[in-house]
Symmetry: C2
Subunit: 604 residues, 2 copies
């Protein structure tokens, strides 16, 4: 028998080189330093400045055409930003003016450092709600508004520090752990919670629970039915509703730009731990939304966004914000969508928006004093309702049941527990799925497609036929400690089942087990021990183990651990076809010389 | 162009069926109910009893030959069990007699329920040490020996309950999360710690730290240099050493069998939480060792051990033990090795050992009163030194650097921190590796092996040549939310690099990107969105995306999400060879009709 192709063992690499390579792949997958290669130092400095301040890159090439577009879009976004800002600040139990402050400084910071051309910076609903619920557990915003305000600034500061340092440490990929399904469920849950909170304004209740879960809110609502403003007409009589509810005003709105709040940061308060936790969680949620939005629009317009760079920009923007009376900002979907559809060209639209808000702050704030609370509630609810993306949930159900479970758990967790519980449950289930993929890898029997040397999963290709005397098994995951025992059991069961089947059908008895390693990306020492045990067990049954197409990494380790040597390189084939041909050839030889076979059987 | 093979979409399965199937694979991979199929009810009952009490299976077939072997091996093991039991009980800060009690009842229980023929049951060093360190944090064994003893019984009870319930719930696979590398490092660390603890006896110190970490122990030793029994001759003068140290005796050893300790279980003590935690951790470590040992010997002798069944047996044995003045027992390696080499045949050797220990308890215990502590220390140290398996660590370094890191972290964690810290660190690193495999999957460029239609990794096979105008990329892991963003970046970079290379070398410009999906075991909705984005990005560059060999699960989801429809089934090939042939054919057609190509380029 002649083996046409040998499975190569990759050339050995020095340890330091392979370590460097894998660290690079882990932390610098996008190779951000590529453009710095082979450049003079002065050019490197310029490129470095461009890297951290993209404004230096686009400002020199800015045209009058761009300015026209950016002016229009900036002013459009500002007109959305003002009522939205006030609403979300109320949601965070903060003075409404903070919503305006937060639409002034952070957009300016982002315009310098951000790389998205479509993002319009501002506060967002979910982190606002999170701030209210997490800080509210520590300090009552109504009883001690000043401390609460200071803690909110401090949390924003920590969120900024956390975001910037993750970006600097190239750990932006942790955002990826929030899967699409988690975000769909989480957003819908948060939207539900926010809408429920608006029952306070809509029913005109003075007392309301600080908890966010469905049970507490409903209990709070139904325990004071006598307090319901039945006059507000059970959603029926809109005019009366407005007349009565307009009695409640937003509160005092002072003229003037952002006061400096650097001195308000509370680093030594007893609430430091809660503040840091709030900062980290709101920070993560904040930039998860911002980066997702930025990426979507970048894809539409075909330019590139660097997640880590964006995180640095978001971080710096929040640090700057926390020192100038702003709370957590990011790139909300609604503003980016308005910005995009108004035709923005560069981040200058953020500057325009900031200037528009500045004028409002300087001259127009008293007007907003008369904004009725019920209008704000209506703004919030209408914004929230688009976040309940039930179509996405249906799509998840149709395509991937597991993702649907993740989505629904996030929703239920948020609505019945708290925002954190929902998030933790959904992330735990998502990670469990990843672990389960490795812990319980699929193994399958391959068959021969008619008139070819192609071997494929017999379940997927029902016309694939099995090869007499040979069992071809494919493993669909790396062989690691978490699945080594499982695979040992499972492979033994495959062989048992195949022998049972053969016994009942009277085919040629089993002689070879081919393990197809194409999809085995890696193996660890537990996995190698498992292979050794399987080989022993298969030998003991009087069968022979053959490997097909092990990859470079696997081959390297099998070689180092002497498994290749023990097994014999001639039992490792490059393709399944060649492995089967090799087995068939051996079977043929054995048939023409039955004594050897009998002897082999007796020996084992 | 004719496509010879179509990629099949697996026939749709009802949701309930596929759920049932995957639950079965997760919890019943060994299909324990297989033998119950198609049996009459009476037979099922017998088989069920056999399942839980393997003794019913082997006892009727027991022969005189077996008895001879089991008698010899049982008595041999007993002669080891007695001094070892006393030593380990001292290690756990428990009365030494408990070591003997624990070699009487639990082996009897195991002989009924256990399925290993080689395991000899008894106490083990590491859980003994863990008990001392974890309970010692709550209650001082010297100041309050009675409470400490009761807590030890209670912890043993919880360990038993935990083991049995994991077994009943088919969750035995959590043991798999302790990788081989973790165990090597952990055992070596624990052995080091145990040896350090023996310094107390060897140097004859009265006061000693209760902490187990290296720093505390060394501080404790060197802070009382004046207390050192220099008479013991700084390891030099052995006779003197013995003479002096034999002054310390083991303590009182009462005659008589195990007293009942059911009433001593403390379920309502303030230490309940610590007791449960101790029980769970010692329970896990205990059966991890027991099952690993049982499996190794079963492999030697070619019989099968069911992990879940063993866990039930261990659990019941510890529950029984906790009610009869025993503490945590399992199947220690040393005893099993002695049992095996003395020629044991069945679990009856455990019964013989138990009877031998019973006679000792009834008649011989006063003799052991004169066992010098230093001898016990020597027994422990000599047993521990074999646990420091530095050769295994060297093997890990040679074969798998990551496993070596896991091993060393476990060691360092145990020696410098505590047993729990070491375990948690090592498990976290091991799991991180599994996650990292998915989060940062390897992608590689495939090339054509000379004179074949085989395509393999160009790094592993340096003679593989690339196909002009076609980039063939293989992804080595499932596409999940954790790696979707990474893959998007990485694939874009591959295409960039390929276009740079082509530009500099002046080859045919890139027209096709083939993504080889053979090793992509599964995909979730985030992954599908990523593929859609990649397709758009590739289209926008004027290239064409082609898939090769997607598996059943992937194909099913791509079909459900309409990706197959959008892409066109004709762009999905069964093999890389066919995909390349298809691309070449198209390139040929385009060359002969250059207008179309130019138009296509302009359009994008």
């Amino acid at each position: 028998m002649e083996c046409t192709h040998r499975v190569a063992i990759p050339p050995p690499q020095p340890f330091v080189k392979s370590l460097k390579c894998s660290l690079k792949e882990t932390f610098f997958p996008d190779d951000p330093l590529r453009q710095f290669k082979n450049q003079p130092p002065s050019r490197k400095l310029v490129l470095g400045l461009h890297y951290f301040f993209p404004i230096l890159q686009w400002a020199p090439r800015y045209t009058f055409e761009f300015l026209k577009s950016d002016l229009v879009s900036g002013i459009t976004v500002a007109s959305l930003a003002i009522p939205q800002g006030i609403s979300y600040a109320k949601l965070a139990n903060l003075p409404p003016i903070l919503g305006l402050y937060s639409s002034f400084v952070p957009p300016l910071a982002y315009a310098m450092m951000g790389s998205s051309r479509d993002l319009a910076v501002g506060t967002v609903a979910v982190p606002s709600l999170l701030l209210a619920s997490m800080l509210g557990n520590e300090v009552n915003a109504n009883e001690n508004p000043k401390l609460y305000l200071h803690l909110a600034f401090t949390a924003t500061f920590f969120a900024g520090v956390f975001q910037a340092s993750l970006g600097l440490l190239r750990l932006g990929f942790i955002v990826d752990f929030l899967s699409h399904a988690t975000i769909v469920g989480f957003m819908a849950g948060a939207a539900t919670v926010v809408c429920l909170q608006q029952l306070k304004e809509i029913l005109g209740l003075d007392q309301f629970t600080h908890a966010t879960d469905l049970v507490s809110v409903l209990r709070s609502v139904f325990s004071q039915t006598h307090e319901w403003r039945w006059e507000s007409g059970v959603l029926g009589c809109c005019s009366l509703f407005f007349l009565i509810s307009t009695r409640y005003f937003v509160g005092e709105l002072k003229k003037g730009l952002n006061p400096v709040s650097l001195g308000d940061l509370e680093f030594f308060s007893p609430y430091l731990k809660a503040t840091i936790k709030t900062g980290i969680i709101t920070g993560v949620i904040g930039f998860a939304e911002g980066i997702a939005v930025g990426r979507s629009f970048a894809m539409f317009k075909n330019y590139h966004i660097d997640g880590n760079k964006e995180m640095i920009a978001f971080g710096m923007m929040n640090i700057a914000g926390s020192c100038t009376s702003c709370y957590l900002t990011t790139g909300p979907f609604s503003r980016a969508a308005v910005n995009y559809s108004a035709g923005c060209k560069t981040a200058l639209s953020n500057i325009v928006m900031a200037i528009a808000v500045m004028f409002t702050l300087l001259f127009l704030t008293p007007l907003f004093h008369y904004t009725p609370l019920v209008v704000l509630a209506a703004i919030i609810i209408s914004a929230m309702l688009c976040l309940i993306d039930y179509e996405a949930a249906i799509h998840l159900w149709q395509v991937d049941k597991f993702d649907f479970v993740v989505c629904i758990s996030a929703y239920i967790g948020v609505v019945f527990g708290s925002v954190e519980i929902g998030l933790v449950i959904a992330m735990a289930i998502s990670l469990l799925r990843v672990l389960l993929f490795i812990a319980r890898p699929r193994t399958m029997v391959l068959g021969n497609l008619p008139n070819s040397t192609i071997f494929r999963n017999a379940e997927q290709y029902p016309n694939a036929s099995n090869v007499p005397g040979v069992l071809i098994l494919q493993i669909d995951a790396p062989i690691y400690f978490v699945n080594a025992s499982y695979l040992r059991e499972r492979i033994a069961r495959w062989i048992d089942e195949e022998e049972d089947r053969i016994k009942s059908s009277g085919e040629t008895c089993l002689q070879y087990v081919i393990m197809v390693m194409s999809a085995v990306g890696n193996i660890d020492t537990s996995g190698i021990s498992m292979l050794e045990e399987i080989k022993k067990a298969i030998d003991r049954r009087g069968l022979k183990l053959v490997l097909a197409n092990p990859g470079g990494e696997v081959m390297k380790k099998l070689h180092k651990s002497k498994f290749v040597e023990n097994m014999g390189q001639e039992c490792i084939y490059l393709t399944v076809g060649e492995a089967v041909a090799g087995c068939k050839y051996m079977l043929q030889t054995c048939k023409s010389n039955p004594v050897i076979v009998a002897e082999t059987r007796n020996l084992t």
